[in-house]
């Protein structure tokens, strides 16, 4: 059931929020043991919200009675928000993230918290201290990450909508692995207040949904300037539900030539080529473009992102909140033991990397240099968008990989983000949507990238393609 379908049901009066809430509570209770998509769920928490909506049914917000699942790194007042980390086990924030406030104001029902890689460090959801979420299309495979719980839950129908966060592909890659739609908005479009930061200059909160229309609906519910986030931008948010119906004929789509890499799976390549053909049929104009600094994106990203992360995660020190080790007889020992025991392996790896690149004597060679390359990457996009309206790439070089397949080799894991990372470095918006399935039945995703603040154009092209292709109608058979 999509959000739009739920809204249609409310309109006819056939059901009220408590009944819809019960439907999803049942679905979660049925599928959670199989997929482990949620890390916190309390049916009473859901029922209370749904009941309150019926009681004051006068002012119906744009998401009135629509359930939304929340990634475990978005602060919800009084609800455990742990970033799937032991170091924040039992942490209950004393405030709501801006996106949560907006969802509440819009009448949405929060379903619970979704699994993720610890502190959003990962592309498989395997680095969760709660254990991995499984892919609904094949439970031997990962759902992608870091917003794996959110994407898997949407794909499995445990929720119509979910919030994720995307620092280097953490919404788009799991969306592609799970056959759903995910948007990383323009940097500054959605307030980050209350998002437990991974890399402040790259993080964005975004929607995950089954259809492009649902994705646009949730996006409209969370986007817009927030004075509590100095990096949020005072730009008007268009009515995306209206905008996406606009004709797409004549839109110019660029295909970056650098994106044809050795590691690109032939099935993914085939699906992309078919999608391009579909675009042509819809009247879009396809042309080749160049993003010459693409090869530097991954090293640049892992310098900038880990540097910021090493600083952002310093506060988890056992002093005020979260986990504190009882061992150690000095302040320094308390810090060391707390962080040594509280963080998982990938978090430690990134903190160490980030600390190193900011260290005196290395700063210029790494961090300062990476900032310069970042500017070049951003200019690549500016230049490409002089010639085209949208860029189209695979979301990931491969479909969902097997659990454990890449855990032993972090570098291969990092490489699976090759198509998504430049987008965060450039700050532009990008959307992933299904563009086919492998013969084994695994979803394949394509990524559309637009100019800053042109999310509406992404929705237009994606919606037109989705309606023409019909991939969104497939449902996973969960075993």
């Amino acid at each position: 059931m999509t959000a739009r379908e739920i809204q249609a049901i409310y309109q006819t009066g056939k059901a009220a929020p408590p009944e819809i809430a019960e439907t999803f509570i049942k679905k979660i209770e049925e599928l959670q043991p199989k997929l482990k998509a949620l890390v916190w769920f309390d049916p009473e928490f859901v029922r209370k919200q749904a009941g309150a909506l019926t009681a004051d049914g006068k002012s119906k917000g744009p998401l009135w009675g629509v359930p939304v699942l929340v990634k475990d790194n978005l602060c919800v007042e009084g609800v455990p928000t742990t970033c799937a980390s032991k170091i924040l086990a039992r942490f209950r924030p004393p405030y709501n993230a801006t996106v949560i406030e907006r969802l509440k104001a819009a009448g949405a029902i929060l379903l619970g918290m979704a699994n993720m890689d610890e502190f959003a460090f990962g592309s498989s959801c395997e680095y969760s201290s709660y254990g991995p979420t499984l892919n609904p299309w094949d439970t031997a495979r990962v759902p992608g990450g870091s917003s794996g719980g959110s994407a898997a839950a949407v794909a499995a129908g445990m929720t119509p909508l979910a919030l994720g966060s995307d620092t280097g592909g953490s919404i788009r890659q799991p969306a592609s692995f799970c056959g759903v739609v995910g948007l990383k908005p323009t940097y500054g479009r959605v307030s980050r207040y209350g998002l437990i930061a991974f890399a402040s200059s790259l993080d964005q909160i975004g929607p995950i949904a089954k259809t492009v229309e649902d994705c646009a609906l949730l996006f409209s519910g969370i986007a817009g300037f927030d004075q509590r986030d100095s990096t949020s931008v005072e730009a008007k948010v268009p009515n995306c539900l209206e905008e996406l119906k606009k004709p797409v004929k004549g839109l110019r789509v660029g295909v970056p030539k650098e994106y044809l890499i050795d590691g690109l799976d032939p099935e993914v390549k085939k699906a992309l080529e078919a999608a391009l053909e579909q675009f042509r049929k819809l009247g879009l104009k396809i042309q080749e473009v160049s993003l010459p600094h693409t090869e530097y994106a991954i090293p640049t990203y892992y310098i900038v992102a880990t540097a910021e992360a090493s600083s952002n995660l310093a506060r988890f020190d056992g002093v005020q909140y979260g986990y504190r080790s009882g061992e150690g007889d000095s302040l320094l020992a308390m810090y060391g033991k707390t962080r040594g025991q509280g963080f998982g392996p990938e978090a430690k790896r990134r903190i160490i990397l980030g600390t190193f690149v900011l260290s005196s004597g290395y700063y210029e060679a790494y961090y300062a240099h990476a900032l310069k390359v970042r500017t070049l990457i951003r200019r690549d996009f500016d230049k490409a968008f002089e010639a085209v309206d949208l860029l189209m790439t695979p979301t990931s070089p491969t479909p969902a990989f097997r659990l454990g397949e890449k855990l032993s080799d972090p570098l291969t894991m990092y490489l699976s983000d090759i198509y998504t990372i430049s987008v965060n470095l450039a700050g532009v918006p990008a959307l992933s949507l299904p563009c086919g399935f492998t013969p084994a039945g695994l979803p394949i995703g394509m990524q559309l990238i637009a100019k800053p603040f042109a999310e509406a154009e992404l929705f237009q092209a994606a919606h037109a393609y989705e309606q023409a292709s019909g991939w969104h109608k497939r449902e996973p058979k969960i075993r």
Binding site: C75, T81, G194, S230, T231, S311, A314, F316, Q320, L358
Partner: protein, 484 residues
């Protein structure tokens, strides 16, 4: 000593804003521990800083007043280090692009250069309770707005360092950017000091922290200069380190250097977007700058005929300068002549008796005294018109400054006015001459001291209420007549 001290000061100033630098929490001093905090200044997961524009305005105002060049791009950096009073384990500060650079402060005849002025957030406060095996943290101070003012190493003695601090404090008070209260910690000071032989390279510098008053700045520097001097005389080296001043013992102590060997890993704060100030925005703040002490002193000297020293004295605090000007404005209304003599009398009172009483009572500002400009003018007028002697005026001041009573009323109520009735004084003078033939003889023989004796007798006779000037004049006249 063959060594010359080279001293620089780092002043941390708490800017007087109602809310903190990156959140809306109150900044009231002395509130219950952890009562002025929110998720932002507690560094909770997910929070973001938002710059308080008032902090920026006060920072620019100060930088301009110190003659700094303003950096048109405002950029903050993160200074990373772990400490329990620092909730995010990094401090948001400014690094390679400080708010202001290359300013100066005129201290007496010397110009002390200001290296840089930058904004940053304060940390919380650790509380160690006696006998308890734990430390407590009060985060009320966390996120308080600070302005750091770093001087060049232009100061050559502990006295000059203190004079610089006093002058700087006066400027800051004129600007009304901070209450500058060292006891409350709104003005804190660290120093850097090294020794060198004249015309040789700079020596190794030592940072001295924990200086809680002007006095301790002077004492700490004196001690540190002596300590370094002894080391150098003995052919030893001065270690580059940070030392803490122990106020009770009057000495500086080394900190274990290992614990403080920080690599702060500065990098631009990604949560605060750099932004540019326009020339116009800076000009608006510049135009709002008040007249500063040095300029005011020059004006007072030129307009009111004060000596340069008196003008500097009266303008040393804004409150005193305002007090002086309030007096000057009301001079004519109080029946006094608007001329240098009157202005000097006013300045003398402010720098003399009033300053003495303030010092006795440990008062920072003249406004804390129950003695208005109107009261002072009454007192000056009473002396000027000969109603009371200067000596009596001091006594009256000592009384009314306690009671808050008007001096004129005080004098009237207690019948303290001098007898200026020439007839009554003449009668008394004649009586004194008759009663003291010996002294009269002496006067005739040319002993001037005899006249003073007779004046004293006259004063005694009138119980001190006669005008001494008139008494002397009258006696001299009568004695002259007597001579013939």
């Amino acid at each position: 000593m063959t060594y010359v001290p080279v001293i620089g000061l780092e002043v941390h100033l708490q800017l007087a804003t109602r809310s903190k630098i990156f959140c809306g929490c109150a900044t009231t001093f002395g509130a219950a521990a952890n009562s002025q905090v929110c998720p932002v200044c507690l560094g909770f997961p997910g929070v973001l800083p938002v710059l308080n524009r008032k902090v920026l305005a006060l920072g620019i105002r100060t930088a301009l007043a110190l003659g700094c060049r303003i950096e048109p791009t405002i950029v903050f950096h993160r200074k990373n280090y772990f400490y329990p009073d620092l909730p995010k384990d990094f401090q948001i500060s400014q690094y390679d692009l400080p708010l202001g650079r290359s300013g100066s402060v005129e201290v007496g005849e010397r110009r002390i250069r200001v290296h840089r002025v930058h904004l940053e957030e304060d940390a919380g406060k650790l509380i160690h309770k006696e006998g308890e095996d734990a430390s407590l943290v009060d985060f009320n101070r966390s996120g308080m707005p600070l302005l750091e003012i770093v001087s060049e190493p232009d100061l050559a003695s502990p006295e000059e360092a203190q004079a610089y601090l006093k002058t700087l404090k006066a400027i800051l008070q004129y600007l009304e950017v901070s209450d500058c209260d060292m006891e409350k910690g709104s003005l804190r000071c660290d120093t850097n000091v090294s020794l060198r032989r004249p015309s040789e390279e700079l020596g190794t510098k030592v940072e001295v922290k924990n200086l809680n008053s002007f006095k301790s700045v002077g004492r700490a520097l004196t001690h540190e200069i002596e300590r370094q001097g002894k080391l150098l005389e003995a052919g030893e080296k001065v270690a580059q380190e940070t030392r803490l001043f122990d106020d009770a013992r009057g000495i500086t102590l080394g900190m274990r250097s290992k614990e403080y060997a920080h690599d702060y890993r500065y990098f631009p704060e990604p949560d605060l977007v750099p932004f540019s100030l326009t020339e116009k925005e800076i000009e608006v703040i510049r135009e709002e700058l008040p007249e500063l002490p040095a300029a005011k002193a020059k004006r007072f000297a030129a307009s009111f005929g004060l000596t340069p020293a008196d003008a500097r004295g009266v303008t040393a605090s804004r409150a005193a300068a305002d007090y002086f000007e309030a007096c000057v404005k009301a001079v004519a209304g109080a029946g006094l002549r608007p001329e240098p003599g009157t202005f000097k009398a006013i300045a003398n009172w402010i720098l003399g008796e009033i300053a003495r009483v303030m010092n006795e009572r440990n008062l920072e500002e003249i406004t804390a005294l129950q003695f208005s400009p109107g009261h002072l003018l009454e007192l000056v007028q009473l002396v000027d018109s000969g109603k009371i002697s200067h000596k009596m005026a001091k006594e009256v001041f000592a009384e009314v400054v306690k009671s808050g009573e008007s001096p004129a009323r005080h004098v009237q109520a207690r019948n303290l006015a001098q007898v200026t009735d020439a007839g009554r004084i003449r009668e008394s003078a004649q009586a004194v001459i008759q009663e003291n033939p010996g002294a009269v003889e002496d006067f005739k023989k040319g002993k001037p001291r005899a006249l003073m004796f007779l004046v004293g007798q006259l004063m005694r006779r009138t119980q001190g209420s006669a005008s001494p000037a008139l008494a002397q004049e009258t006696l001299r006249e009568l004695l002259k007549e007597n001579k013939r």
